[in-house]
Symmetry: C2
Subunit: 346 residues, 2 copies
């Protein structure tokens, strides 16, 4: 049997995985017929198909992906470039993307410690080298958007969470509306004005949330306090909270994310300012833990998973039609009322 096997010589049988020709020989057909069965072409007699399938099973044959790719020019692979996937937002989007993609694509990741021009360009380059069929950039920072500008159009590319200024198809949440909702809620409770702990200015989401807050105050004719910017971390929220706690005129704070709100709550607690009796706090994101902060955090829910799924859909559309049919509507954030905000004391 071994000697009849192939030009590879008898000894190679065990070493090399079987190829299509081996299946063909065993089934007594030509390799092309095997290929037809594998690609479910019509015009293969059922009996033949069965023989081939049996041979495939017997040899545990698996088609060689590289050979296939070489001729079909399809890799069934997408690339995702993201800022630090340890963070809740990026991690959730990645998860959403992967769930939505898995039935049709492999997803390859590139998680960058910083989204600078160089890093993004390199990552795109890597992926193009790998011949991905499309790329999703989770690009929350202005620097990333800038980098995206300079990218040659080698492969369909979609951005997510990049504000509305991106020079390419994108999906995003309506940060401005979410921030406005939070601010409006606090004003409606009776607060004279609302202070704001912002995210880093280099992040688009941060800017947009700040804008939503600012516009709402302006419309309401309320005082507009200076923005205190953190870096998204609980620590920065804590430090800012320490300052804010000293100022008795502060009765309401809108934090650009839940982690900073956590730090804020801690700082207020430490300084003896009660939440929500003395000061109200509202966050943004609705991370799973927010409901278990002390007190439970009123916050703006953002559906990261949905965002990821939409990004994927947009990318797939772009790959197929090869014309971006405009970007879908922004995902609408929702205010989740818990107990960290209340009416100010009279």
């Amino acid at each position: 049997m071994a000697s009849a096997q192939s030009r590879r010589g008898p000894a190679a049988d065990a070493l090399r995985p079987p190829v299509m020709a081996d299946v063909a020989r065993l089934a007594g057909v030509s390799h092309q017929t095997v290929s037809r069965v594998l690609n479910s072409h019509p015009n293969v007699r059922p009996a033949t198909r069965e023989k081939v399938l049996a041979a495939i099973r017997e040899l545990s044959y698996r088609p060689n992906a590289a050979a296939r790719t070489l001729v079909t020019r399809r890799t069934h692979t997408l690339g995702v470039i993201s800022f630090d996937t340890t963070l809740y937002g990026p991690a959730s989007m990645l998860y959403g993307i992967e769930q939505a993609a898995r039935h049709a694509y492999f997803v390859s990741i590139s998680s960058l410690p910083a989204l600078d021009h160089r890093g993004v360009l390199d990552a795109v380059d890597r992926f193009v080298g790998q011949a991905v069929e499309g790329i999703i950039v989770i690009a929350p920072q202005t620097s990333a958007v800038a980098a995206l500008n300079g990218i040659p159009d080698l492969v369909p590319l979609v951005a997510v969470g990049c504000g509305t200024e991106a020079p390419l198809p994108f999906v995003s949440v309506d940060n401005t509306a979410g921030a406005a909702r939070a601010t409006r809620y606090l004003l409606d409770l009776g607060h004279r004005t609302v202070h704001h702990v912002g995210g880093p200015g280099s992040w688009l989401d941060a800017r947009e949330r700040t804008r939503g807050w600012s516009q709402t105050l302006q419309q309401a004719g309320a005082d507009q306090p200076e923005v205190l910017a953190g870096d998204w971390s609980a620590r920065s929220g804590y430090e800012i909270g320490l300052q804010l706690a000293r100022r008795p005129e502060v009765t309401a704070v809108f934090c650009a994310n839940d982690h900073m709100a956590l730090g804020l709550l801690r700082a207020f607690g430490e300084q003896g300012r009660r939440v929500p009796e003395d000061v109200s706090v509202v966050g943004f994101d609705d991370i799973p833990e927010a409901a278990f902060f002390r007190p439970p955090l009123t916050t703006v829910r953002q559906d990261f998973g949905e965002l990821g799924r939409r990004a994927l859909r947009l990318l797939v559309d772009t790959i197929c039609d090869h014309h971006s049919a405009g970007s879908p509507l922004p995902v609408d954030p929702e205010l989740v009322v818990r107990s960290s905000a209340a009416r100010p004391r009279a």
Copy 2:
């Protein structure tokens, strides 16, 4: 110029990306010489190399990965199979893996909503079909380990966070030691015994932490209260906390993770049991927010990133030597003392 280009005919120039033959023609050498330059073989005259590089730049040529793979049988791709990468632990390990791998490999992910037998097998199968060079399974659940047993040895496979019972090379943290350290710490503070909020029994880490706690109590001759098992979520910690708060004999609690500890803190706060005055709480993981809980959480730090990096190293070793040189030492967790635990009141 176009007519001299290639057998593809003049019109194809703009459509197809350039191939090695195009570069060769432009540089006036054979395609093999181009290949030599690309693979930095010795024995290419510097002048020739320059000509080739210039041609490559001029055409913006990129080698075709599939063609390369077909002949070299290398894909430079690794697969990572993980349970829900939204969670802090898996996300951090994934990040560690990717950071360590990126200079040499692409990393493809498969994030499963459940690590059941079928799911793991399918994921491995997908990756084998994609011809990855190795797979890392972030396999914290017993069901995953069971599934790993049945896997044919088609590709190097390494598990991480899978306890010490895995039938294959693995890396893990020393959960038992970490839990023992936390428990010991509470006992040393003077508590009679320590209650335990465990993770789901289907998770190896949960079991090991419970074991470490249990052994320590036994060694100390302390009472061994019944384990209350949660599901890692803050919500489950909260619910268990509500029960525990009613029992005045409870003065110290060791939680199997920080999220449940957060829920516990909230429940105790709500029920008027002060932490750490009335009851001490220690967590596990040291998530970035733990320092900003109220009170700041004393917990056991686990370096997920390092774990990921080690897993990668182990996998690469396995790929190269193709014999697993035994698994590396478990990563040692460290107790981070903050203020959620104190001496019991007299």
